[in-house]
Amino acid sequence: MSEHKKQNYLNHPKGLMSWILTLDHKRIGLMYLFSGILFFFLGGLLALVMRFELAAPGNDIISNEVYNNVYTLHGAIMIFLFIIPAIPGALGNILLPLMVGAKDVAFPRLNLASFYIYSFGALFAMYTIINGGVDTGWTFYTPYSTQSSSNVVPMTLGIFIIGFSSILTGLNFIATIHKMRIPGLTWYKLPLFVWALYGTSLVQITATPVLAITMVLLMLERFLGIGIFDPALGGDPVLYQHFFWFYSHPAVYIMILPAFGIISEIIPVHSRKKIWGYKFIAYSTLSIAFIGFLVWGHHMFTSGQSVFSQIVFSFITYFVGIPTGVKIFSWILTMYKGQVSFTPPMMYALSFLFLFTIGGLTGIFLGAVALDIHLHDTYFVVAHFHYVMQGGTIVAFLGGLHHWWPKSFGVMYNQTIANIAALGVFIGFNGTFFPQFLLGLRGMPRRYATYDEQFVELHSYSTFWSGILGISIFIAVMNLFWSFIKKNKVDPGSNPWGGMTLEWTHTSSPPHPHNFEEEPVLQHGPYDYDKVIVEKTYKK
């Protein structure tokens, strides 16, 4: 057994080819993780360039054209190359089969194909950067995107290809969750991260095809002038916005649902307490995934839509906020009568609750049509979606990394540095984006390379704190990689935090190549902290 014990998915099939042609979902998850972090840093760098340009009015670092390319690439890379593919791809691939007790995902070859389609699509995006960038905004609104001479086609082709990767991942996850659960693992015994992945995958396979057809129509518009989106040829740019946002609003739920799943895993484990309202959280995941398809028009309140459709969109938008509110209150009440330990994942989870609540509540402002007419396309919207995407998804992603790092790599990181970095991220983030709410209220438009004198003060605060935010995130991620270095390798044991889901209780860390020695038998629910005591194998 001992030789067998040392064998894990990281070292078992040796050699580079065993990684390149791997069918092991855990290795594919790692490949998504590292490429995701790479694109995250690239996007982050572009963000810092923008922030330092906006420190003072006037074009001091970069000219208008360069700024337009930088903000477009920042948006496109962060969304299409990091948040949408990498988070469900990385954590989802590593954890899903472990959590449902399966040996692998339903279609391992399809899983590997989806990673290579993702990297093939990313090549196009990188080519766009080298070849002079694209300056249409990540939304590619026509008619500017049909007239712009920048690389619109390579970027849209790249996004079109990456769309297939997220469709295939969605197919894989749905098949795995439905069909590969071990006997006895009913839907209400599933960890809530699996519910979140299920909701995400449903949205992925239903929304991404419409993005694919939109990108194809945009490319045909540029090549053949088909006149569907180009007003000079009888088309209608608002119809493009309908097509685009029919995908892109559900896409923001692709981004946030995995983050909800991560938080639903971290808080019960680190407060050693049964999750509050399991069924409420599970069902609100599915209802968010569904209602997400009805509300895309609130991105187009000033685009000249019909008054009737604005009222309908505003009405339904308010029903997306309710299930999210239920989730947040349930997470907080989970800590009631628990044993909360302030480990780095828990710090990220708490800052997620703080930041995402602000993000969610500011969405209520933007939902009211009368207010949105003033706030649309201003910095208020920029602050809102950064609070939700960065304050929500990326903080939760960092929390998830810190939570499952010992399980995936079998090493423990330095927790004090991690806590400090988490604090830095929290403070830096608030400093960067809270002033932008005020900028937006005072009428500072979005996507401006230069601005009036009246906005200088808030922009300089935002730039100063964005440096702090950048450094803290860098420290947080480097601290994780620091745990690989030989001399500070600490064995966290198979269950460092005392989790009760299958990936903690039934596998070593890092797990065996085929996940489980023999098929696990379910003894208790995912959060039965009131019935069973599970020892923490890692004493600080």
């Binding site: 009888g234 209608d236 309908h242 019909s306 009737f308 459709s309 969109f313």
Partner: protein, 139 residues
Amino acid sequence: MSEHHITPLRTYLIIASLLLFLSAVTVWVSYVDLGPLNIVVAMLVATVKASLVAFFFMHLLWDDKKNLTMFLMSLMFFGIFVTITLLDTEFRGDLGLNPEVKNPINNRASFYDTLPLTDTHGHPVDEHSDDHHEDKEHH
């Protein structure tokens, strides 16, 4: 070993003939001018044919109900996309307030003004030239 349901041959043949018959019906109905009803009838017949194909040829009738729900979900999201987009495109300039919002500025694409008139074979026809009939003999 395989307990999959095997559809009897007779069912396939009946369904195929039904489909062919319905195709003939829909073509025949299209010649009868029912005004706006035409499109409704055409869609009804097409939906009947589509459900025949889905339930019998694609085994949805005897398969695990999950597959049927997946197929119905796709139709539902298609319906959502159509209805809500039409909420905007059909009601523009509604409440009768702003007639300007309804009518487009320059609807016809500009390249039409430069296009020469052609005959039914696509060859340009110069109205003023008299060798009109020669074009016809070319092919």
